[in-house]
């Protein structure tokens, strides 16, 4: 998959292999997340995958108490915007913290990526969701 086209569908396929990837421009080395087919800096077509370390720091966060219909069973849960070591930023769930103690979640705290299986209607339809945990 690492040589596949940098589409959003293939990003999810890589995630299913427990690989967190961004798109990288082979010309100017700009790193892009969410992945893009055209470089955001030099507009060249033909970006490639680069696997990320999964290490980052919390930039901001919230605790969702009233969720949309799809996520209602999980509430309350924590959403973080985090800056990755490679200089890009991701929005994801943060697990391993108490959602009823927001004062314990600190901007700047270190987090690390993990992968969670979301079961589908049959075993081959399960998908992997990117989550983060305190480092």
């Amino acid at each position: 998959m690492m040589s596949s086209e940098t589409t959003i569908l293939n990003y999810q396929a890589l995630l299913n292999e427990k690989k967190l990837c961004a798109a990288e421009c082979p010309s100017c080395n700009t790193l892009m997340f969410p992945p893009r087919l055209f470089c955001a800096n030099c507009f060249r077509r033909g970006t490639r995958w680069k696997e990320l370390s999964g290490r980052g720091k919390i930039r901001s966060f919230t605790i969702i108490h009233i969720a949309s219909a799809t996520h209602a069973a999980d509430a309350p849960f924590v959403i973080v915007i985090l800056g990755l070591a490679e200089g890009i930023s991701i929005t994801a769930r943060l697990v391993g913290v108490d959602p009823l103690k927001p004062e314990d979640i600190k901007i700047g705290a270190s987090v690390v990526a993990d992968f969670e299986e979301i079961p589908g209607t049959s075993p081959d339809q399960s998908v992997t969701r990117l989550i983060f945990r305190p480092a």
């Binding site: 919230t62 605790i63 915007i81």
Partner: protein
């Protein structure tokens, strides 16, 4: 400089309207605006109608021809404009451009939304569709959650407090007491605002605008023709729009909305005015923090000073910069696709001295700030007294 004027404005009461269909809500606002302009529906040459999601809320696509037919304007070009919660400000801008282009002389700009047909979790899900489905709504962020992320960043950077958020809600509810078309014509206390149920920490229920039904409409003509319709037209002197990244995670600073800064900068240039020349403003307080950030992005207060300003009462009616005299989205209500044009209607009333007990003394110039989605869209309009 823009050379378009408002010669009529109409609006339904905002709130829950189980008794009326979408087209009926639209017709009340449109016919009121047309009658106020002293014209017949058949004089209107084109319509631009803001609406987020009649397809999800009411199982109805292609609403624009249906709306104009029902309100007596069958046959004219009718176009729906969608920019999430900024839908009707973009409809307004399209209407202004249609007149500025020389193609049309009399155009209606409107907005309509009927959200209360669906249960609340379904409404939350539809609103979240205005964020990136794969990368932000996917993990489970909601609209209150998006603005809560901005609130946490603002608190961290500037020391903004939950009491300052609550001050926005208390002020806007107090203003709405004097707006007969507001969803909540009642005051709330600081204690009540702060003790409300948590929605997306640090935002509680009283930090959030409600689920609403409603419509608003204005009739626009070329400024040099405007006095044929009314003795007191309201001149639109700036109309701008900007966009930003869809995703919060793609932005360097989470304590501000770049689209609002860019659109307002262009609007001040277009109107040849500065922020201090604006006498009052209707800003997009979908959540209390959004009003604080808006007053900073618009240049009314320095970054970080929006919270202290509302807490000190500087944005009340009668103070130096009245904000959301109508009650804002918070208390007037927020039928999302109708909000932008409803904001202009408040300017129309204020600039004609028709705002009753919520009238701003000596109001000569007003501004509207309508934000779509995560702040990926923002449209600004500035209007002045004739």
């Amino acid at each position: 400089m823009i050379n378009v004027s408002v010669v009529g404005a109409g609006q339904t009461k905002f709130g829950r309207h189980p008794e009326y269909d979408l087209r009926e809500l639209f017709s009340f606002a449109a016919v009121e605006a047309i009658e106020e302009a002293g014209i017949s529906p058949t004089d209107v040459e084109a319509a631009f109608i803001g609406n987020l999601s009649a397809d999800r809320f009411n199982n109805q696509c292609h609403i624009a021809p249906m709306m104009v037919d029902f309100a007596g304007m069958k046959g004219i070009p009718a176009t729906k404009c969608e920019a999430a919660c900024a839908s009707s400000a973009t409809a307004l801008r399209a209407a202004i451009l249609a007149i500025e282009s020389g193609i049309h002389d009399v155009v209606i700009a409107a907005g309509v939304e009927k959200m209360s047909d669906q249960p609340t979790p379904s409404v939350i899900e539809t609103l979240a569709m205005a964020a990136d489905q794969t990368f932000e709504a996917g993990p489970g962020i909601t609209f209150p959650g998006i603005f809560a992320v901005l609130a946490v960043a603002h608190m961290h950077k500037y020391g903004t407090t939950r009491e300052q958020f609550a001050s926005v809600a208390v002020k806007n509810h107090a203003n709405a007491v004097h707006n007969p078309l507001a969803q909540y014509q009642k005051e709330i206390t600081m204690e009540k605002a702060l003790s409300s149920r948590m929605v997306a920490w640090p935002l509680g229920l009283f930090d959030c605008s409600p689920i609403s039904d409603g419509a608003a409409a204005v009739v626009l003509v070329r400024t040099k023709e405007a006095r044929k319709y009314t003795d007191a037209p309201v001149k639109i002197i700036a109309s701008t729009q900007a966009s930003d990244t869809m995703n919060l995670c793609d932005r360097d600073d989470l304590s501000t909305l770049g689209a609002a800064r860019r659109a307002s900068h262009k609007a001040y240039k277009q109107a040849k005015l500065e922020p201090q020349d604006i006498d009052f403003a209707e800003v997009h307080d979908c959540f209390t923090i959004a009003e604080i950030i808006a007053t900073e992005d618009l240049g009314f207060f320095k970054p970080g000073q929006g919270g202290p300003a509302v807490e000190q009462g500087l944005t009340r009616i009668g103070a130096e910069k009245p904000i959301n005299t109508s009650g804002g989205l918070k208390a007037k209500g927020h039928p999302v696709g109708a909000t932008g044009v409803s904001q202009l209607r408040e300017l129309y009333l204020q600039l004609r001295n028709e705002a009753g007990k919520r009238q701003v003394p000596n109001a000569d110039v007003g501004l509207t700030h309508n934000v779509g989605g995560t702040g990926a869209s923002c449209a600004i309009h500035i209007a002045s007294r004739w």
